[in-house]
């Protein structure tokens, strides 16, 4: 997952990635529109996106939904797991479908994950369930305000 895969990318791949981290067209033949911008046929555009997903250059392709605006809950949570139990706890935590992203980080709080739930109330329930299943405390850090969220990755 951490691998640098830039050696797999050519100019067209870069153009696709740099132009369409958002703004993918909502029309009957969107890949034809995208292809025309980047200089690819409709088929080639589809094939390339498939390849980039298969290679793990892309993690997803499609709409990104905003949990809270859909009436759901969202939070960032952290856990402090002894290294010798880390893999075991990762497995338990990742089994929860509500765990959207999970990162290992260098700190005593060494596991950081995002919980996305269908209802705001469900956050506390899932936090409780994770604590019960793993036996470790979950530090729940729901956002109180979001200042800016933008995409600035460059391929």
């Amino acid at each position: 997952m951490r691998e640098d895969k830039t050696h797999l990318l050519d100019d067209k791949d870069r153009a696709l990635i740099n132009a369409y981290q958002g703004g993918f067209p909502l029309c009957e033949n969107p890949f034809a529109v995208v292809g025309a911008v980047v200089g690819l046929s409709e088929d080639e555009t589809i094939t390339r996106i498939k390849r980039l997903l298969d290679e793990g250059v892309l993690t997803r392709f499609g709409p990104l939904y905003h949990a809270e605006r859909m009436g759901g809950g969202l939070t960032l949570a952290a856990m402090k797991i002894p290294p010798e139990y880390f893999d075991e706890v990762v497995e338990k935590v990742n089994k929860f479908p509500e765990v959207a992203h999970n990162y290992e980080r260098q700190h005593a709080l060494n596991m950081w994950f995002v919980l996305a739930t269908e209802t705001p109330e469900r956050i506390d329930e899932v936090v409780g369930e994770i604590e019960e299943v793993t036996g470790y405390k979950v530090y729940n850090m729901p956002k109180e305000e979001e200042f800016f969220v933008e995409l600035k990755f460059e391929a």
Binding site: Q21, I49, G62, L64, Y65, L76, N102, F153
Partner: protein
């Protein structure tokens, strides 16, 4: 969000179909026309239920090896004003105000800083420190060492 929107979410949250007419394919699942899918997704983009539609890169794969979650202890009364300034920096992709967990966790401002090299990431941290100035009461930078899971948001299949 009505029942049809909900079905669209369920049909697309794992990704758009990689076929020439992806919205038609979604429409077949939801049992509405492609025009209706497009209209409804446009509305969801408009009202913010959809943040964006597009390619989501694995930033490690793009060569962003240095991904720091920078966290800062800023006085509560200054946090919102300073958070906005930090969010506007080019090196920051997300920025949030979050609750402290004293005594274990005194930091209330979170800002994600990404770099293809260590110097860029560190320069980002310095820029934030400059913005905060005397209001920086301590900070911690947590570099991620591994993506353990990245699936994005999932609604359950239940009603």
């Amino acid at each position: 969000m009505d029942e049809i929107d909900r079905k669209i979410v369920l049909a697309t949250q794992g990704g758009l179909p990689l076929v020439a007419k992806p919205y038609e394919a979604v429409g077949e699942i939801v049992e509405i026309s492609s025009a209706e899918v497009i209209k409804r997704m446009e509305a969801m983009l408009e009202n913010g239920m959809i943040r964006r539609i597009g390619l989501v890169p694995n930033h490690y794969a793009l060569g962003y090896k240095f991904n720091g979650m920078t966290t800062w202890n800023v006085p509560d009364e200054k946090a919102r004003e300073l958070g906005k300034k930090i969010g506007a920096l080019d090196c920051v992709t997300h920025s949030y105000l979050r609750p402290r967990h004293l005594p274990d966790w005194p930091y209330n401002i979170f800002a994600m800083v990404h770099g293809k090299d260590k110097e860029t990431a560190e320069a980002g941290v310095e820029q934030i420190a400059e913005v905060l100035g005397e209001h920086n009461q301590g900070h911690m930078v947590l570099f991620s060492t591994k993506i353990l899971k990245k699936t994005g948001l999932r609604l359950g299949g239940k009603k």
